[in-house]
C-alpha cells in the first residue's frame, strides 16, 4: 500500500508537487496522465526513493521504518533513461544488477531473462551496439530483475516498436494479474486508458482527476482530460 499525504516538492520557488494526495492499494494499476511539467516524474521519483519530498508524508508498505534500503527491494523503477552501462555487455549489465539486488546471477538465470524480453542470443553484445528499442527491452529486464511488488514506470513504451509494445503490454498484464502494484506515467492517452484500471490526472503538482476506469468510457475520459491538459 502506498499513501501520499499533502506531498510537496519545491525546486527553488517552483512547486513540482503541491499538496498531492494519493492512496494506492496493493495490486492496483494506475495510469498517471498530465502535461509536461505536471509533476508525474517527480512523483514517481519520490515514490522510488530517489527524491526527498519537501513536505508531506509518504508511507510505502513495508513501512519506511524498515531497515535502511529494505523498501527499495520491493520497488522496480523504469524511467526515461535506461540505467544501462554502454560499455558492458547485456548480460554483464544484468549480472551487475542481480548482484546488487541479491537475485541469482548465473548465466542460465540471466539468459532466461534475456529470452523473456526477446533478446535471446544477444547476451554477449555490448549495449552500445543495441538499438533504442533493444536497450529499452534490456532496461525492462534490468528494472524488474528482482521481481519487485511495486512497478513504477515513466513512459515505459518509449522506443519500443509494435512487437515490443505488444510484449510489454502482456508483461504488464501478467504483472498485474500476479498482484503487483503498477503506477505508470504515460502521454499516450488511449494506451494508458487501455492498460490501467484507475486513471489519475496530475495538474500543477496535484491530483486533478482520480477515477476508476469502469466509471468512465474513453470518450468521457477524454472529455474530462482535455481541459486539464490545456
Amino acid at each position: 500500500m502506498i499513501e501520499a499525504r499533502n506531498l510537496g516538492k519545491y525546486f527553488g520557488r517552483f512547486a513540482a508537487l503541491n499538496n498531492l494526495h494519493l492512496t494506492v492499494s496493493d495490486g492496483e494499476f494506475i495510469a498517471l496522465f498530465g502535461k509536461n511539467g505536471a509533476g508525474k516524474t517527480t512523483l514517481l521519483r519520490i515514490l522510488a526513493g530517489l527524491s526527498r519530498p519537501s513536505r508531506g508524508e509518504l508511507k510505502i508498505k513495508p513501512s519506511r521504518q524498515a531497515p535502511p534500503g529494505a523498501v527499495r527491494g520491493h520497488i522496480g523503477y523504469l524511467s526515461h533513461e535506461t540505467s544501462l552501462y554502454m560499455d558492458l555487455t547485456a548480460v554483464e549489465n544484468l549480472r551487475f544488477h542481480a548482484r546488487l539486488t541479491d537475485v541469482p546471477s548465473d548465466d542460465r538465470a540471466l539468459a532466461m531473462r534475456m529470452q523473456q524480453v526477446g533478446l535471446a542470443g544477444r547476451e554477449r553484445d555490448p549495449v552500445r551496439n543495441f538499438s533504442r528499442g533493444m536497450q529499452q527491452r534490456l532496461a525492462i529486464a534490468r528494472a524488474f530483475l528482482h521481481n519487485p511488488d511495486i512497478l513504477l514506470l515513466d513512459e515505459p513504451f518509449t522506443g519500443l516498436d509494435s512487437s515490443g509494445c505488444d510484449f510489454f503490454k502482456s508483461f504488464l498484464a501478467a504483472a498485474h494479474a500476479d498482484g503487483k502494484t503498477c503506477i505508470m506515467a504515460i502521454h499516450d492517452t488511449r494506451l494508458g486508458y487501455e492498460i490501467a484500471e484507475r486513471l489519475v490526472v496530475i495538474s500543477r503538482g496535484a491530483v486533478a482527476l482520480d477515477a476508476a476506469k469502469p466509471s468512465l468510457d474513453y470518450a468521457q475520459f477524454r472529455e474530462k482530460l482535455e481541459p486539464l491538459l490545456a
Binding site: 522510488a48 524511467s79 533513461e81 540505467s83 552501462y85 560499455d87 558492458l88 554483464e92 546488487l100
Partner: protein, 222 residues
C-alpha cells in the same frame, strides 16, 4: 560487502575496457613530471629533496582527473539512479566507488613513481615498502574525501571546475603529511619520524571516510 565488491568490479571492468580514466591520469601525471624535470634540472644532487613535492603534485592532479570521471560514467543513461535503487545502505555505493577510485589512483601512482625514478635519476631499494605504505594511506585519504566531493560535483553544471575547487583545500592535510612522509623516506631514512605524518593521515582518512559514508545518501538524493 558483496555489493561493494560488485560496484568495484563493475568499475574495473568498464575501465579496463575503455581505459578512459587511466589514460588521462597517466598522460597528465607524466606531463607534470617532465615539466618539473626540466625546471629542476639544474639542482643536480639536490633534486632528490624536491621529488616528494613533485610526486604528490603529479599524484594529486592525475587523481583529480580520475575522480572527475568516477561519477561521470554513472550520469550517462541515468545509471546513478539504478545504483541508488539498491536494496541496501547507499553507503555501499560510496565504498565501492571509493575503492575503485583508490585502485586506479594507486596504479597511476606506481607508473608515475617509476617514471620519476627514471626522469630524476633516483635509486631506491629499502625505501620501497615504506613508500608503498605512504602512497596507500595518502591515496585512501585522498579518495575518501574525493569520492564524496565527486558525487556532489557530478550534479552541477561546472563539475570539472568545481571538484578541484572543493577538493584541494580539504585534502591539504593529507598532501602536506604525504609530502613530509615521502621526504623522510627518500632523504633522511629516519623511519621513526614517519609516525606523526602517518598517524595524521590515518586519522584524517578514518574521520572523513566515516563522515562521507554517513552523508552519501543525503548528497545524492534530490
Amino acid at each position: 560487502m558483496h555489493k561493494i565488491w560488485a560496484i568495484f568490479r563493475k568499475d574495473l571492468l568498464i575501465e579496463f575496457r575503455t581505459k578512459d580514466s587511466l589514460t588521462a591520469m597517466l598522460f597528465f601525471g607524466i606531463v607534470v613530471l617532465v615539466v618539473f624535470n626540466f625546471a629542476l634540472g639544474s639542482l643536480h644532487q639536490a633534486v632528490r629533496s624536491a621529488v616528494p613535492g613533485v610526486l604528490w603534485v603529479a599524484f594529486a592532479f592525475s587523481g583529480t582527473l580520475g575522480l572527475n570521471r568516477l561519477f561521470a560514467v554513472e550520469k550517462e543513461n541515468g545509471c546513478l539512479q539504478g545504483l541508488l535503487m539498491i536494496p541496501a545502505d547507499r553507503g555501499a555505493v560510496y565504498l565501492g566507488k571509493m575503492l575503485a577510485s583508490c585502485f586506479f589512483m594507486l596504479i597511476a601512482e606506481a607508473v608515475l613513481f617509476i617514471a620519476a625514478l627514471v626522469l630524476f635519476n633516483l635509486t631506491v631499494r629499502n625505501e620501497i615498502p615504506w613508500l608503498m605504505l605512504v602512497f596507500v594511506v595518502g591515496t585512501l585519504g585522498f579518495t575518501a574525501v574525493g569520492t564524496l566531493l565527486s558525487a556532489i560535483a557530478v550534479n552541477t553544471r561546472l563539475r570539472e571546475v568545481l571538484l578541484p575547487l572543493m577538493l584541494f583545500p580539504v585534502i591539504l592535510p593529507i598532501l602536506i603529511n604525504a609530502v613530509e612522509a615521502t621526504d623522510i623516506i627518500l632523504n633522511s631514512a629516519d623511519y621513526g619520524a614517519l609516525k606523526l605524518p602517518l598517524t595524521v593521515m590515518s586519522a584524517f582518512t578514518i574521520i572523513f571516510a566515516t563522515i562521507s559514508y554517513l552523508l552519501f545518501e543525503r548528497v545524492l538524493e534530490e
